[in-house]
């Protein structure tokens, strides 16, 4: 069924096989995960004087706080301290980029459920019971909670932005055929299994030590300092690991960390804030819903002449990270296709709901799926197989994107053809057509779609990383870097890099918690950049240590520096060879530094946002997937029968971890596009506020047959050991499943058009799409 089997139990990496890079090592914490000994923030021991936080919520979507009587809360059993916005000594705005994310509502209510006050009590339950006793009145103001209204009224968090390539209007006018289409897609709840949580302990210097489940400890540190009115050095943030992040703990981890820190400093007691699942779902942001419209001009073969798109992102009540997110939707509205001439307009719409935030893909998926929907629609219009229309429109080397980045490396034409061959796309296309012609109750669909994803933060300054490597006198190595571990195997990959760089056994390298006092001023672990950037920084640190060690070895053994080699867990110098730990002991006695920090900044990127032109991405990563589904016309139920994936990870640092990212990303994308349906009422209340009514995939939902292979080609860009980023791109492989569902629905109108199937394609929506197709004309 699958060709790439998981690696067999690992043999210890000994002499002759010392290089761990490229090996499918298990994650460094794997045994602790399965034994239950991996420690998450809420697993840390509590002190006898421990306090727990809960927050009280606003009851309207937009309005003014007219009454906040907390007298009953203050006297509730176990309550030690109660705060509202006025009690914040420093800056009460915890927005990551632009202003507008108050820690506690300050007079103005921005969304239904917004924290208005907070309680610290002696137990989790006491805190939760106390908040219910508050007397809160909100004067409601007119709230806009749906995206269409926001677009219509130009209700924005940021001004619109645009990319323009050549002369799109002229190209559309001149095109033999044109087509208009639109797609509305829902957001997505992260549903990391570990909810948001932080613990804060006061320090003797008047600051605070924060243990946070955060993808961005430096941001937590900075915001906690800001809220407390302290210099940054008074706050340390520490992240051992997260129980899942997916972007949801990039900016959103700040709220519990800041509240816990505030209470810790006020009460001089350790304080924990863990959001119960419902609070987490209501009070933290999600993937942005989008309403995307396009006009395409093309010839009778479906070859594009020009495209105009408007991408309207639902940012919620504040900007948060939305500039980068809608920008990234725009950067991926072309996916892998040469639009020839294009105008891509982005709208940063405001709705009076919780502020939407980063989620794996960061807007990219919402742009990319629009291109795929458009290509499918064009294929129907010209009566060709959608795969052929896709292949005909792929970028070639030398083409230029709508934002001015030249295509330097075009792997997708090869990759897609390889995949089409290996998964027998053509034969199955014919078989699907025969099957569908044979009966009416159950139909099949097939689609093969690519992913091209730009790698780099589009905020240029974030493309930097640091690492800290110590070698101890017994030859053991301690590694810290700026990245955080959320399950993606980053610590393992960076440790593999260090082991190769120093020519030692992987087991010598230990990675511990990410801490702001070990590596400062770090970027979030996001944008798929973790291994690329921190791997390079760790390599730099190793090279700095090695420079001293090589000089010492050359002098000590009387050889040229060029004759010193670190390999096979030994150091070879001239004719000598000795075990790494013996060499290190000698270097220590000779007073050679065994510690260094390393630094990396991504080269070559240069994008001018104002001009909307340049090179935002160091390189592109991606792959392609082919999905085969069947749908029931009776109920709209469907099954995912088979998925074949070919994904480009360059020279893999760890194929087992990369495979995990690809499969996991695919299924997460599958959830977004199929069963995960966020529902709100017209007052802005989230209805789908628990896993009982928000359904992420289970094991049943993965394809009956799943074959994942790695595309075997080194990265053309000079990345860490020529690997490619793998965190986000695989999520978008699931677009093939959505396209296959739409293909199956289109069979009911003999593929004359594609019925509307806005994601998520729940059984209900598939049912209505089939009904539309059966009616024989677009609704």
């Amino acid at each position: 069924m699958r060709k790439l089997a998981p690696q067999a139990p690992q043999e210890p990496v000994g002499k002759g096989s010392a290089d761990p890079v490229g090996k499918g090592l298990p994650q460094d914490s794997a045994w602790r995960h399965v034994a239950g000994t991996a420690v998450y923030v809420d697993d840390m021991p509590t002190y006898p004087n421990q306090l727990h936080v809960a927050t009280g919520r606003a009851t309207v979507a937009r309005g003014r706080l007219t009454r906040l009587d907390l007298s009953r809360v203050r006297v509730a059993p176990g309550v030690v301290d109660v705060i509202s916005a006025a009690d914040i000594p420093g800056n009460g705005d915890i927005a990551p980029v632009f202003a507008g994310d108050p820690l506690l509502a300050d007079g103005e209510v921005l969304y239904l459920g917004q924290p208005v006050f907070a309680v610290a009590a002696t137990s989790f339950e006491a805190a939760q019971q106390a908040v219910a006793l508050a007397d809160i009145d909100c004067e409601p103001l007119e709230a806009i909670v749906d995206l269409s209204t926001a677009v219509e009224r130009e209700y924005y968090v940021l001004p619109p932005h645009e990319f323009c390539l050549r002369e799109p209007e002229a190209a559309l006018l001149a095109a033999p055929l044109t087509l208009d289409g639109e797609l509305r897609m829902a957001g997505q709840e992260h549903f990391y299994l570990e909810g948001q949580v932080a613990t804060a302990e006061p320090t003797e210097e008047g600051g605070v030590h924060v243990y946070s489940s955060s993808q961005h400890p430096s941001e937590v540190q900075k915001l906690v300092a800001g809220v407390l009115g302290l210099p940054i050095h008074a706050v340390q943030a520490e992240v051992r690991r997260m129980g899942g992040g997916f972007g949801g703990k990039e900016s959103q981890a700040a709220m519990p960390a800041c509240l816990a820190a505030l209470f810790a400093v006020r009460t001089r007691r350790p304080v924990r804030h863990r959001l119960p699942r419902r609070d987490d779902m209501v009070q933290t942001g999600k993937r942005h819903p989008f309403w995307n419209r396009y006009r395409a001009g093309f010839d009778d073969r479906g070859r594009l002449k020009g495209v105009s798109m408007v991408l309207a992102g639902d940012c919620g009540c504040s900007a948060d990270l939305s500039q980068g997110i809608v920008d990234r939707a725009m950067f991926h509205a072309d996916n892998a296709y040469n639009f020839q001439a294009a105008r891509i307009r982005g709208l940063y719409c405001r709705t009076d709901k919780v502020s939407n935030t980063a989620f794996r893909g960061f807007g990219g998926p919402q742009g990319l799926i629009t291109a795929e929907a458009m290509l499918d629609d064009i294929a129907r219009r010209v009566g060709r197989d959608p795969l052929d229309v896709r292949l005909d429109n792929l970028y070639a080397e030398g083409d230029v994107t709508p934002y001015g980045q030249p295509i330097e490396e075009s792997v997708l034409p090869d990759l897609m053809r390889q995949l089409a061959d290996s998964c027998a796309y053509r034969a199955r296309r014919e078989a699907v057509a025969r099957f569908n012609a044979s009966q009416d109750e159950v139909r099949r669909g097939l689609a093969l779609t690519p992913v091209k994803f730009g790698i780099s933060f589009t905020a240029k300054h974030l493309n930097q990383a640091g690492a800290l490597v110590h070698i101890y006198t017994d030859g053991s190595i301690h590694l810290n870097h700026g990245g955080t571990e959320m399950g993606q195997g980053l610590h393992t990959k960076v440790a593999q890099v260090v082991a190769r760089a120093l020519g030692v056994r992987y087991e010598r390298v230990l990675v511990s918690a990410t801490r702001t006092d070990k590596v400062p001023n770090t970027s979030p672990t996001a944008a798929s950049s973790g291994a690329d950037m921190n791997g390079m920084a760790a390599l730099d640190a190793c090279n700095r240590i090695k420079r001293g060690l090589v000089a010492f070895a050359a002098e000590h053994f009387g050889c040229d520096a060029g004759e010193v080699e670190f390999a096979d867990d030994r150091v070879h110098a001239g004719g000598e060879s000795l075990p790494f730990e013996d060499f290190i002991k000698q270097a220590y006695l000779a007073r050679v530094s065994l510690s260094a920090n390393g630094f990396y900044r991504t080269p070559a990127i240069d994008f001018d946002r104002e001009a909307a032109w340049g090179r935002p991405f160091y390189y592109f990563a991606g792959g392609a997937a082919c999905s085969q589904v069947r749908v029931s016309a009776l109920t709209g139920e469907y099954r995912l029968e088979r998925v074949d994936i070919l994904h480009d990870v360059g020279d893999s640092l760890n194929p087992a971890i990369d495979l995990g990212q690809i499969e996991g990303g695919f299924v997460q994308g599958l959830g977004w596009l199929t069963t995960e349906e966020l529902a709100w009422d017209d007052r802005g209340r989230l209805l789908s506020d628990s896993p009982a009514n928000y359904k992420i995939p289970t094991a049943f939902d993965l394809p009956a047959e799943l074959e994942v292979r790695l595309f075997d080609r080194a990265n053309h860009a000079e990345t860490i050991y020529r690997s490619k980023a793998v965190g986000e791109p695989p999520l978008m492989l699931a677009v093939s499943t959505w396209c296959a569902l739409r293909d199956a629905c289109a069979s009911f109108c003999d593929y004359r058009f594609n019925p509307r199937l806005d994601p998520p394609a729940t059984p209900e929506r598939v049912y209505w799409a089939i009904e539309e197709a059966r009616a024989g004309r677009p609704a």
């Binding site: 998981p6 690696q7 139990p9 298990p26 994650q27 914490s29 794997a30 045994w31 995960h33 399965v34 034994a35 239950g36 000994t37 991996a38 420690v39 998450y40 509590t46 339950e125 992260h190 549903f191 990391y192 299994l193 570990e194 909810g195 129980g243 899942g244 992040g245 699942r277 159950v442 399950g487 993606q488 195997g489 749908v631 109920t635 139920e637 099954r639 029968e641 087992a656 971890i657 995990g660 499969e663 996991g664 990303g665 349906e677 529902a679 209805l687 628990s690 896993p691 009982a692 009514n693 359904k695 992420i696 289970t698 049943f700 993965l702 799943l706 729940t762 059984p763 049912y767 209505w768």
Partner: protein, 471 residues
């Protein structure tokens, strides 16, 4: 109050018996391997095993299992597993590591325990593995490596799941030593005495719905009367003309009970909650909580079941299940009354029937619409027929107009279409988080059409009945 955790007896004196087992494990017992993901029994991160001598251990959601309800029992947590290479190296754990079955690791202890439950019972094969982990959510891996681990866990040196000393020494302590405020009677007479003594008592069985009041609304019920140990309520009895099923019988026992009697029910039960939920949730609870989207009431309606109600004063009465629900979340139970049992007439049970459940997600999801239909056919003439729905009204409801159309009619295409049209006259469903009213209406008819055609023609019109694609 004491219980055995991983083979060691722990004195739980001082811990409130109405706190959850999860809270007890993570605080008092210092065992933080078991995680809280949702506190509502939906994610499985809190899965532990309950082991009884001579029985295969059962997986449960410790986040919605009250401490008092497992007093005297033996609990196995992820920390209790060991293999030939020591603690934390059980074959299930080794397979999970070797298959790269963990990423962030937070859901992992729950998966390990669900697989350990399967391992202890010797369950094999993809369907069994999927069934065992259907109540465990993983957001990182996409499940493939976890399924792989479930296949490979038997490739290692065998190891027990329950520690040697894991079974409670004496017979399980069922309530005598429970602290005040929590009662777990063993006889119906004792239950009734408690209800007389504490008229406002909070009655709980498996707690898979009721305990959410504690974990989601932070209620502190007092006193709690836990009926899971009442012998009469846990019995299944074949009375010849009827099956009598005690109200505290969990779904997993129903799966065994109906294995030969009703494959459609067994198939539906496999999608009711999850293995952990079915090990705790009960038939009586599914009725008594009065939910319009409970999955058992439509089935009971299709089988003319009768509900046996008992009172604190010992008086008993029987009502047909169709008059049990009064309104939205309102039943005929009066103060001091409880559901004692459900009787299903053998005659009704033997009618050919179909049970179709529609939900957004296939596994572990609440029904959008559920149809239960039983129908007697002689030739093409319809005899006795029951058509019942969940999710279509404020209560589970029989579609009597549809039954009227079908009764004594010839089951031809015209009758089927007339019956389907009659569905629209019967129901005015609502839009909610699960589906639109329009879809519910369309599905009520579609499922009816499918059931009638299948019973008439002896075919399977389901999505899983088609041949694989031949390329």
């Amino acid at each position: 109050m004491q219980l055995t955790v991983n083979g060691e007896t722990i004195d739980a004196t001082g811990s409130p018996p109405s706190q959850t087992l999860l809270r007890f494990l993570r605080t008092r017992a210092g065992l933080c391997g078991t995680k809280e993901g949702c506190a509502s029994g939906d994610c499985g991160a809190c899965t532990v095993l309950i082991a009884r001598p001579g029985e295969a251990p059962r997986s449960v959601n410790s986040c919605i299992t009250l401490l008092g309800s497992v007093a005297g029992e033996a609990v196995v947590t992820v920390e209790g597993l060991a293999g030939s290479e020591g603690p934390g190296r059980h074959p299930v754990q080794a397979a999970m590591v070797d298959c790269h079955g963990s990423q962030c690791g937070f859901c992992t202890p729950g998966f390990v325990m669900s697989l350990a439950g399967l391992y202890a019972g010797g369950g094999r094969g993809d369907e069994a593995i999927r069934e065992a982990i259907a109540g465990n959510l993983c957001r990182c891996t996409g499940y493939r490596p976890i399924l792989e681990a479930g296949r490979r866990m038997y490739d290692y040196a065998p190891a027990p799941v329950v520690p040697e000393s894991g079974a409670p020494a004496a017979d399980a302590n069922h309530g005598e030593a429970l602290p005040a405020g929590y009662y777990r009677p063993r006889k119906e007479a004792a239950l009734q005495a408690l209800l007389r003594e504490h008229p406002g008592a909070w009655l709980v069985a498996g707690g898979t719905d009721a305990v959410l009041e504690i974990t989601q609304q932070y209620a502190a019920p007092d006193p709690v009367v836990d009926i899971t140990a009442v012998a009469e309520l846990c019995a299944v009895e074949d009375r010849g003309d009827a099956l009598r099923i005690g109200a505290a019988v969990p779904y997993s026992a129903l799966e065994d009970c109906f294995a030969g009697l009703s494959p459609p029910l067994v198939a539906m039960l496999e999608r009711l909650g999850s293995r952990q939920i079915r090990n705790r949730g009960t038939l009586g609870g599914n009725l008594a909580n009065g939910s319009p989207i409970a999955d058992m009431p439509p089935v009971l309606l299709a089988w003319d079941a009768r509900v046996e109600i008992a009172g604190a004063d010992g008086r008993r009465r029987e009502v047909p299940v169709e008059s049990f629900h009064r309104a939205y979340r309102d039943t005929v139970l009066e103060a001091g009354e409880y559901v004692a049992a459900v009787q299903i007439p053998r005659g009704s049970l033997s009618r050919p029937h179909r049970i179709f459940k529609l939900s957004k997600r296939f596994e572990d999801d609440i029904s959008t619409v559920l149809l239960a239909l039983s129908l007697e056919l002689s030739g093409d003439r319809v005899g006795e027929v029951r058509v019942a729905y969940g999710g279509m009204a404020a209560t589970p409801l029989r579609a009597t107009i549809v039954e009227g159309v079908l009764t004594a009619a010839t089951l031809d295409d015209r009758t089927i279409e007339r019956a389907c049209s009659a569905v629209a006259e019967t129901f005015t469903p609502i839009d909610d988080v699960r589906a639109s009213a329009a879809y519910r209406r369309a599905m009520a008819a579609a499922l009816l059409r499918r059931a009638l055609r299948e019973l008439r023609d002896g075919i399977d019109l389901g999505i899983d009945a088609v041949e694989p694609l031949h390329a």
